[in-house]
């Protein structure tokens, strides 16, 4: 068998109509977010259709530089989304966080060279989905990590001041906050790592099996992507904090309140 069986559009539409169930539940429980629910569902469908369309082109062109541009654009979008979600100033921090994410993604792809030839990894059928999974996780873990770091600092600024006044350098003073943010970003992933496969079959593995790979091949890919994601989180969160602190602390090592949107 080569590839998964295609789904008929009309059957897909019929299947999606079952979406009425959560809508009715929301109504029944009088949750006032029906609008949000419907809008997110529509966004999901539109975004995925668009991605389907242009991924088709990108796979057909299969040009290394176009692939690279694609990854770069995805990094920019991930960065904007992170800043938006955690209410930090896009203008003040992006100059530092984008390089942090570029270095992380670059490094993780270099690691893929241990497993694949350059020819394989630069193929759009590999670089694009792998990049997507890595960036999706980078986004989630940085939303948690960066927001924990900066909200803790803001809320417990006195503690930071006290550390500085007891003789800490900037790095020494923020170390407890870095540690806390790092743990927060890693914790969900440690939990996933430990239980993966027991209950839920991870997305990549499911895709591979549906696509006709043997379970062993699927598992190898899954192990590879999980360790890559783990590396991504740990590097990107630390680099994003280390780089962004140049903007977050000003003269006299004061916390720069302008980085917060609200």
């Amino acid at each position: 068998m080569k590839g998964a069986i295609d789904i008929d559009i009309s059957s897909l539409i019929l299947f999606c109509l079952l979406f009425i169930i959560p809508v009715l539940t929301f109504k029944y429980l009088r949750i006032r977010k029906v609008g949000d629910l419907i809008i997110s569902a529509i966004r999901m469908i539109v975004q995925l259709s668009l991605v389907g369309l242009y991924l088709g082109y990108i796979f057909k062109l299969n040009d290394f530089w176009i692939n690279l541009c694609w990854i770069f654009i995805m990094i920019l979008i991930a960065n904007a989304s992170i800043m938006h979600q955690i209410q930090l100033s896009w203008k003040k921090l992006s100059f530092y966080t984008i390089p942090a994410y570029l270095i992380t993604v670059g490094f993780v792809f270099l690691c893929f060279l241990i497993v694949f030839d350059f020819k394989v990894i630069s193929n759009s059928r590999y670089i694009i989905p792998l990049g997507g999974m890595i960036l999706g996780n980078l986004l989630r873990s940085n939303v948690v990590g960066l927001s924990r770091f900066y909200t803790s600092l803001r809320r417990r600024e006195i503690e930071y001041i006290q550390n500085i006044s007891l003789g800490a350098t900037l790095n020494e003073a923020i170390k407890p906050f870095v540690k806390e943010a790092y743990i927060a970003a890693m914790a969900p992933q440690i939990a996933t790592l430990a239980t993966i496969g027991l209950v839920a079959l991870p997305g990549m593995m499911t895709g591979q099996i549906l696509g006709g790979s043997t379970p062993i091949t699927a598992i190898k890919y899954q192990i590879m992507i999980m360790t890559a994601i783990y590396r991504t989180t740990s590097i990107s969160v630390l680099l994003a904090i280390q780089f962004s602190k140049k903007s977050a602390f000003e003269e006299y090592l004061r916390l720069n309140r302008d980085i917060f949107v609200k």
Partner: protein, 215 residues
């Protein structure tokens, strides 16, 4: 030793401190009284430039504070806040944390000296192994005060440090902070009880300092 000249701090269009002057000599124990919102905390924070003054200058040992020397000068100070910080590990690690900072590594400390300090505040030594976060707010605060005092700084800036303590412990803390002869301190509070133990008492209102009169 410490001179504040014509200090004005404006925050969000509100004048918190206005043309404030203050002289502190070595070893002097100064208490500043003021109601909440009178700018006591702002005054302490702006001495170390954690709040940037709108105008005025702060001179420490004949050196005017600036971005260039602030890091070095802060090393002669210690600031203690009203509420103890959070910390996730043991009390012992919490006490030792600042001694791992590069500039403090030369300061000698051992378990014995720590236990001796704890005894001054009637805290049993068993507390060292406990998780710092499991202590009560008052215990955390006393541990925080002990930790800062062990660093032996020249000037201590104490921001309402006893407001969360019970009467017995307030007394112990006051006795201990006043003990060292060479240590200068600015103790900011709204509690009038121990005024006479300090060398000098000032009141902070309308953004400037006045000699304190019991009224």
């Amino acid at each position: 030793m410490l001179r504040i000249r014509d200090l004005t701090v404006i925050k969000e269009n509100r004048t918190i401190l206005q043309s404030l002057d203050l002289n502190l000599v070595q070893g002097e124990k100064l208490v500043i009284l003021g109601n909440s919102g009178s700018g006591k905390s702002t005054l302490l924070k702006s001495i170390l430039y954690f709040e940037i003054p709108s105008s005025g200058e702060i001179i420490y040992n004949n050196e005017k504070l600036s971005a260039a020397n602030i890091i070095r000068i802060r090393q002669d100070f210690a600031y203690i806040g009203q509420k103890a910080p959070t910390y996730l590990e043991s009390v012992e690690n919490y006490l030792l944390l600042p001694f791992h900072y590069r500039i403090n590594r030369h300061i000698k400390r051992d378990r014995k000296s720590i236990i001796k300090e704890l005894e001054k505040y009637s805290i049993p030594r068993e507390i060292l192994k406990q998780n710092y976060n499991d202590l009560s707010g008052g215990e955390q605060q006393r541990i925080t005060i002990i930790r800062a005092l062990m660093l032996n700084r020249s000037i201590y800036l104490l921001d309402e440090i006893t407001s969360n303590l019970d009467t017995d412990n307030v007394e112990k803390v006051i006795i201990n902070i006043l003990q060292e002869q060479n240590r200068s301190l600015i103790y900011v509070t709204h509690n009038r009880k121990y005024l006479n133990r300090f060398d000098r008492a000032l009141g902070l209102n309308d953004g400037s300092l006045h000699p304190w009169r019991n009224s």
